[in-house]
Symmetry: D2
Subunit: 410 residues, 4 copies
């Protein structure tokens, strides 16, 4: 009769603990709401259980409502966001396929690089730091493509690295003005369920996204929504693929839809997350994100008086409601600041990516987020600025409070 | 074959949701850490399972370490704090028994009232608002009791209503100076695992407490620790009792120890909570509470510049590390402030109790709490002050940040 | 910057683990459904949060629906079942108060003992092992009380120790036939939400119960429902009490209703559990319990061919749908059987209590229970019988399967 | 001030409920242990948190211990098992690459098909129903490849569809006997942490697996372990790939290791699951699986007396310890049987795949599984057989009990 002591966590070197709630203000992964945690904690079902089919159908229809699309087909992948990108690429990009990738910074660069890894040819429009996509440059590039060899435009709605959101309607107008048949493909990873986006109204052909941001799930689920013209292009794309293949995933059974076993926990969590968004109301979700973003911008604006920090995205209208990038003056070490904020003040913020490493830190404010969380985060960052001796205007948190107080209609 | 839709929460009128983390800054119940939630979520065991006995033994020994007592016996009750009080009363207070209850405000009054409901006679020392227990008055009362008819002194360590902590060592000295044989009984409900307390070193005969404060559990578990002299008094106390009876609970089997079925989920949670405290280290837990309290005091001090708010407890040394009571000027409605703080800024604070209703609000900062949580709470309260138009110095959060930044040794 | 390893469970000596689902077939505590676990895992709220009042109101109204009572007031206690008994006693039993306690075995004995600890006088009707309450003896005792000094009848609906359910309608008829004004007080701890019970229709004045059986919660919550005549008796009962006092708990605020802090986690769990019962339908819940009980009886009947085991409750109609007591022949050690069943076959069953120690084992089949769980339990017990060399008919599980297969209307 | 009712689950059409524990006996997904659920429920961390790196390192080293390999590199993917296959293919299979795929049934066929979708050439050895891989045919095929154009052997250790486990040591000997340089690639999806497997000792170059079987996680995580010769082949494979690419994933930072955001919840769960396996001991885990499999085989053997059912895998040594396929006679509908087992007896079993649809049902007995669970499952299936009128020997469960009782050394 065994009665050995059970010491489950002795090997869990990773689960180091701090007292209390840990403030997670990376722009993804984001906080997972209790309701989603509970849904993901349900035991799996056998795949023939009719409840599995109901779950998947609920996620498909909920995702279409969220994307504001009636005509798209939705494909879910056990994959992260880069897997979602690959799902788009493997279906649309064959050897030599031309893709126009408007510059948004790190993420447009990365997506373009991945296109090239598949043998595609990525045409980049120039990126100016702190600026959103230049729609005029896009229009010019499309007009220049007189032989209409560009198959698709791959646009990042919100570039998480720069905290900049570009105007998708302006891109639509650019494509229309150029009368170019290119597919309009949008990465909404960092914007979905935070900033308004309407797939059908914008004439977007393909949308891709991932679970760990506005959808409030752990990372591990990606999705693509594609309309019929995109499906037609995919059918003609000759590239080795199986897992990513849209056509193969069109079957009725879950095993086909997911090319194997569906990621049941993530799907259960997604159903719960979509329910949370619908309960709050999508407009209210968007308004909340905008309100919290204004508070963060107010704080950074106040900090900027010290001349060591500034909002990276210059145009107010292009500042993301999901994440705010704060540029630091030379000599300021944002990674050291992050460590102090995390380890001494329990606030996890993000750093710079790619060319912005060491030049910015980023504050995420998306997903399951509220006023007090943002204020606590800002106060913790302000404390860390103080510990690190980084010059800053002292009234950052006060400015955020003032911003929230003056919001109407609450 | 049944396949009805499962709508579990449609009847859950209580579980209304706000996005994000809800800041709970009542002085109890307090936040339940994930580790405690997980422990409480374990399925029950049959009561003869040897693991049940191991669980109870672990809680008993852990509680004794926490109380710093080697000689006390620990009794756990499925009950709340008032049940814990009743456990003390039903064992020590018979008809006419005299109990000296030093005034600490609302909670000493309530305990005295409960003593009288059992037919005891509660002798109260005067309470001055904003002040801790007057040890000299206690000594005088004991000296005046020349026939030594006072059976016990019932002292509240931290009065949650006033946010005032009294000096238990001073009480010990008062008892010794009066050479009085009264039992020294201390309520540590609001102080345990927040402020230092040493049962044996203080010569305390009985300690009682509850689960929902520094112990970081949901309400529903109370405990009493009693030493041999107290057990002897209990044996001679003639009052109808069964559930509360210490003597009956002395058996080896769980069914006797708990007078019926033990509250297994709470015990599992307690074991986890005691483990958390020991992992962090009791001294570190105390230091953290003191550090966070100083930050709150700094904020309230800054707010006080508006002349509408002040720290209720005057002597700095008597301010509780668990909860801070903030007195409001006449005309200020603390309940309206609380509603705004809770509903618009997601920060739940407490109000006044008994004679302090409408005269104070209270900020809890105990249990599973950290810097960023306190800063977020203070910022939310400051925002609510602003919404309500309550005059206040604007730099409350900044003062708290400054207080935390200057803390040493982190 | 702290980065110590976090080893939370190293001190959890109690949480020894077995692979897989642990079959809990004690008659309480019972399995806690996932939905209840999730509800209990919600963070506490400040007590002035209007959601707390909604939660309590939902539990009160749900409990009244479950008890089939429109006229009773419901009082919830942070307490176990013995605390619930004490709540009844402390309100109804003063010095010398006469209580008629019909014999059901261990639990009627224990309740009577607790009555006597409060100075009451418990009149017991005889208990015959294996038999339910003798209603004729009750009627005779009431008729014999010509001065009508008996204040109340304290009846245990299902005695968990014997697995016997008595006929409450027969008791009602006995009281009526004797034209006696005694209050009718019923303990439904082990029967509620398993066997039919209708408080108002039965003319029951007081019902008491606890959380850890048919209500599918962890132990730690008790309740009393009392009607106006019972409240009137309580007002006249002179006994020291505060925590248990019904009158004091009549206030509107949660703090009064619970005599201090409400056990929020248990209340949240109760709301969820009541929701589960209503979702399934009370009649369906009763039918399920009856169906599973028949399967267990069939298995024990088959085992009984070995002459070492028999159903303890003789009359089929008196066999509880919650728990089945199995009497063992002299020489059979039920505790050793339990240890083998638990440690080698993962099935936890119960033993004998009081005079039945060493003479019975008990199989619980109530609460969140289904066919496969019962079959797995019976198979595990049968395996343990085999390991222990206890003579038994080999086709116990088959008999249970046959019983379930022939059930109609599924 | 919002106070809308929160009805989270009204949209959860998928979460239909049955009372009690649902018996999941598909061969994957399998039951997720509480400890894994708790680990997966931890909130995400920012990716620069050093605890993330610790978590990943713990999973890498734990996985290598589980695989019994010191020399392999481990790559984790947010993907399901087919994604894991694709990771192998995209790194090793270019246009025209020859892969030898020994026939095991459905899964070898599927893997071969996926190889061909990538432009590879899959050479299949014949599959005989009910038989494991024919090592002699493998040796012959390798010997016939005199130009050594076969790049790799892709072998399925346990074919989940047939419940057959092939002898990997025999394959090793076949490769050695043929003196062929082909890489030895093994799919351990359905065998890992159930049946013994030693990567280094077997000279296996690449192993791939997935999370939802013996690893006791929800689906959504796949892994590949590759040694240096395999990495060298991968470097020379010219196929468009990015997400799957081993070389790109060799970086130190999590973002490189996972080609984007790591699936943190699954990784946290994996660390916990590996801890569970190590706590129990790998040899004990294997022994438990073998013991439970013998019990299932005993039951099916007894059922087979009815001539309508038989064990699909003929050689006892080739019967998987993870899953048992039961062949049904013509006229028996295994899907109808499954529905009855699931909906009336709460036992979910699996059906036939590919050519075995309608010809077998399958009982999974792997992962977080124990004796009572298997017995409950078998009893539920036997009840369903009875309801469906499928001829079967009546003593199936008894045979399983007898098998478990006679096991030694417990």
């Amino acid at each position: 009769m065994r009665r050995r002591r059970w010491l489950p966590s002795c090997t869990m070197s990773s689960a180091s603990r701090i007292p209390g709630h840990r403030f997670l203000h990376s722009p993804g992964p984001t906080r997972v709401p209790d309701e989603v945690v509970a849904a993901m904690s349900r035991q799996p079902m056998d795949l023939a259980d009719p409840r599995v089919a109901l779950l998947i159908a609920a996620c498909e229809s909920g995702m279409k409502r969220l994307l504001r699309s009636e005509r798209a087909e939705v494909f879910f992948y056990a994959a992260n966001g880069h897997g979602g990108w690959e799902a788009v690429i493997a279906n649309l990009v064959g050897p030599g396929t031309q893709i126009l990738v408007p510059g948004t910074g790190h993420f447009s660069d990365n997506w373009a690089e991945q296109v090239e890894a598949y043998g595609g040819r990525a045409l980049r429009t120039p990126y100016v730091e702190g600026q959103p996509i230049d729609a005029a440059a896009v229009e010019a590039a499309l007009r220049a493509d007189t032989q209409q060899r560009i198959v698709a435009l791959f646009a990042v709605h919100t570039d998480t690295a720069s905290g900049t959101t570009s105007d998708m309607a302006a891109l639509r107008r650019a494509i229309d003005a150029a009368a170019h048949p290119a597919l309009f493909v949008v990465d909404v990873v960092a914007s979905l369920a935070a900033a308004p986006f309407e797939m059908d109204a914008l004439g977007v052909n393909v949308v891709m996204g991932a679970s760990q941001k506005g959808l409030m799930l752990p990372p591990g689920l990606a999705f693509v929504a594609a309309d019929e013209p995109a499906m037609a292009v995919a059918r003609d794309t000759l590239v080795p693929r199986f897992y990513w293949d849209w056509q193969r995933r069109r079957g009725a059974h879950s095993y086909l839809k997911f090319c194997g076993t569906p990621p049941l926990a993530h799907m259960a969590g997604l159903e719960a997350a979509l329910g949370l968004i619908e309960w709050e109301g999508l407009a209210a979700v968007h308004a909340r994100h905008a309100r919290l973003a204004r508070a963060v911008h107010a704080a950074v604006g106040a900090w900027a008086e010290g001349d060591a920090l500034r909002l990276f995205t210059e145009m107010p209208a292009a500042r993301s409601v999901s994440v705010t990038a704060v540029a630091v003056a030379p000599g300021v070490d944002p990674e050291a600041l992050r460590a102090v904020a995390r380890e001494r003040f329990q606030v996890a913020i993000a750093g710079g990516l790619g060319p912005l490493v060491g030049r910015v830190f980023r504050i995420g404010h998306l997903g399951d987020m509220n006023e007090a969380m943002v204020l606590g985060c800002l106060a913790g960052v302000q404390a860390a600025l103080q510990v690190q001796g980084i010059p800053h205007g002292r009234h950052g948190v006060e400015a955020a409070i003032a911003s929230l107080v003056q919001e109407q209609g609450l």
